[in-house]
Amino acid sequence: MRFIRAALARIAGVFSKDTADDELREEMQAHLDMEIAENVRRGMSPTEARRRALLASGGLTAAADAVRDQRGLPWLDSTAADLRYAVRALRHSPAFTAVVVVTLALGIGANTAIFSVVRAVLLKPLPHRDGDRLVYLRQSMDGPGGADIDFSVPEIRDFRNGAPALGSIAEYSPWFGTLTGKDDAIRIDVGLVTGNFFEVMGLSPILGRVTRPSDDGPGVPPVMVLTHDFWMKRFGGDSAIVGKQVRLDGNSLTVIGVLQPAPWFPDRMDALANMVISPHHLSALMVQGRTHRMTAMIARLAPRASVAEARSEVASVYERMQRDHKDAYDPGSHYRVAVIPFKEALGERARLTLWILMAAAAFVMIISAANVANLTLMRGVRREHEMVVRAALGAGVGRLRRLLLVENLLLTLTGALAGLGIAVAGVRLLTALAERYSARANEIRLDAQVLAFTFVMAVALAMLLSFLASLPREGSFAERIAAGVRRLTGDTRKQRLQRGLVVAQVAVSVVLLAGAGLLTRTMVQLSQVNTGLKSEEVLTVQVPLLQMSGVAGTGSDPREVFKAVLQSDAAAKVRYDQMRREIVGLPGVLEVGVGSSTPLRASVTSFEVKAEGKSIKVGEATPRADFRTAAPEYFSAAGIPLIKGRGFAATDGIGAGKVVVINQTLADKFFPGEDPTGKRIAWTGEVLKFSPISPEWRTIVGVVGNTQDGGMDAPLRPVVFMPFVQELAMSGVIVIRTDGDAASVAPTVTKIIHRVAPAAPIENVMTVKQIKAQSLAPRRLNAALVSSFGILAVLIAAVGIAGVLAFSVSARTNEIGIRMSLGADSGRVQRMILGEGGVLLMLGLVVGVVGAFFATRFIRGLLFGVAPNDPTTFVGVAVLMAAVGIVACWLPAVRAARIDPAITMRSV
């Protein structure tokens, strides 16, 4: 009670300052008068009485200060005064203020922006209910396309029965279909889900309902749940959508709800539907085929079960599965299952890049802070005299420290404010980067927590800066004043600190530059990778016409479905041919070819493959190859070089013998040193049972060159091409080679396609050049960001070196004057100062190169074609830093050499 009451009285005291001051003055005056009167009564002269009374009072002003401290919240009063003082002081040194604020703004802005991305993509809790209980299961195997091969229904059943720690399991099968609108059609990604899916995932609808177990099985009405993004994009957030019918391929589905915003993994989803739209998913083939892996698995851990328990249970179940079903797990391919917390899985592609960027930003912050610290130290030395005078006039060390703190807070918070401006712009840029790596990029916000991060950073920095400055020790004021102190070099401790900071700046800049250099070299290496295509002026357009599922009027009988698919395929091929004939007549078009997939993009379909008369060694992985089809003109239209034999011809028709063209990688694998033409290969493996692809022998008629499918840094994949007419059309891609700018024919081409197939979606209208640029874009942005951090760091460090040397020169003006009058010429003085800076620069370079040697190991995963300790990069970085550093030393050195001894000597 007593404290609360006293506290309230104090707070009230803040507001009644003026009246209280008047009263206090009157009260003390009365005291004084009474004492004087008493003294006079005792027989003193009035003057003596007054003198004695004043002496006894101990100083009215000091007493009034003491009472004021007791009365209100003294720190508030004096802080306001400090703030006024700080604003005035900073206004008096605009250059210092500007440099500090800009430096801090850059450092804080970069950190804020990148932290907001790190938080959204890696740290923030998932929007799913108890999202930290979700784990993603990933089955993978060796070889291209083996990183994530999904699960089959029997495998999921085994885990459900054998791993109780997994609690409940949500399955979804990535599928796609053509959504037909009023006057257009688009291809959308649909997840086929079981009824318990949303319950397990912990996701709720924001409109309508989600699926439930009664939506499982055959014979139920087909329903669709829209994801939030797709609902906004396609339906403009129309809340009347629930209950409406939409057409997906041949099916009519009822939209039953819209899902809350949530990230998808491993692929983006537009909508979720129950399994009934795909008869295949309900067929015995799917439900019993152990190798028919097309379902992703996310589990919610059982209450109190840990990820470690889940891992060990999954491992033992998987071991048993591999023992019981040897044919489904070829030992050479090293099948394995990983249990990954869902949040980690969502962030895994972004993690390394983001932490590298965060580290780079932190480095920039360290350099900025060092620079600001140096500037503050120098300013502190210039103000030493002021501080001593203030201390002598009664300011305690604590009070001075607070004055500095207020000043530094003003600086860092202004810097932070400006930094937020930079961050707002930076976040937009970074979101574009993060979208390529993470499904959570749309969660990036400059929200309260990010602002708190920025604020804490600014305050911590201000405190650090305030305690760095040394203040006159209590009791030393009198001596200093008596000595008329006006030293400007500061004490040796401070100089050492300043020099240490410069060395640190140079060292950190070197580390950053090394990272930037390596990433830039990676970019250069990647852009020089040969795509394998002869021309970049090739336009590619994806026009999926084939309907693989839910063809109207079919039941769940597989044979009937298959017949419908074949009909759809035949109709599609007629249209492709018509499109080809019309496009080839366009001016500027040299050649047009049709195929199942786009050059330079990874094929989604790959199967096990075998060569006649060739057996695989024991323990070697079963060879796999990408499945692609090509019309006769495809190779030359796409610019894929023919190395041996022939390409496809019109004679390789539907009824003709099955022939294939393989790529160099597959040829080297099966027929090293032999001519593959005339040899035979065949698709193989259990999984063929689930596809319309026949396992018969096919004769190799030609070999084509390798192309960089799936990225410039992707390993080369073995590919088998089949005649377009002999297999299903799949996604359907038209490649168009032109004699000029391929992009310019795109509008006309799109128009023709739309006229021939009005209901077909037209996707990925891109030139080969654009595909290549797109695959390099995230790395380019990444390298550009780290490089700009590196350049920023070097510039700030250069300012740091120049500043410290200039300061040293101005402090040593007298000394230099004396040296010159004793015979040192300006060249010698210049060398002296250059030497002083050179030592710092060398030290920084050595520390930096050693640091970079260790630091660059962490970015190994982001490099391509260049080693983490690439000597060329390191030498280049050291030379660059040295060059900038020497220029930074030069200016103060030249200034020192221009000192006129006559003038300086006079002012000693």
């Binding site: 009285a9 009260e27 009474m34 009072s57 003491a66 007791q70």
Partner: protein, 114 residues
């Protein structure tokens, strides 16, 4: 002045309360004089010590202040003990006695152990 003692933290409040209990409402000068006299001039109270202490007691509600005419017709601020102040005085007096006894016992010459 060198022979005068500084007022120990915490004791001044007790002295002020005791003074006000004995003499009734009193102004700052009166309190200072009284304390100095009682201490036989071993204590010297300057304004910077006295007035913050008075303000603190007032904030804590142990004393209350009022402007009145002084004996020689001058407007002065008079301080008076409140009920809470009386209780506080009793409590602090008791604590002081206890502390004093304790310290005395410690400082007393040790008796020989038989």
């Amino acid at each position: 002045m060198a022979d005068k003692l500084d007022v120990k933290q915490g004791t001044l409040a007790l002295m002020i309360l005791k003074t006000l209990e004995g003499l009734g409402p009193l102004h700052g000068y009166g309190i200072a004089r009284r304390i100095e006299e009682t201490s036989k001039n071993r204590l010297a109270l300057n304004y910077g010590t006295l007035y913050p202490a008075l303000l603190k007691l007032e904030q804590e509600g142990f004393i209350k202040a009022e402007w009145r005419q002084s004996e020689n017709n001058r407007r002065a601020k008079f301080y008076a003990l409140t009920a809470a102040g009386r209780k506080q005085l009793a409590r602090e007096t008791r604590e002081w006695h206890e502390t004093a006894d304790l310290i005395a016992a410690f400082l007393a010459p040790k008796r020989e152990v038989p």
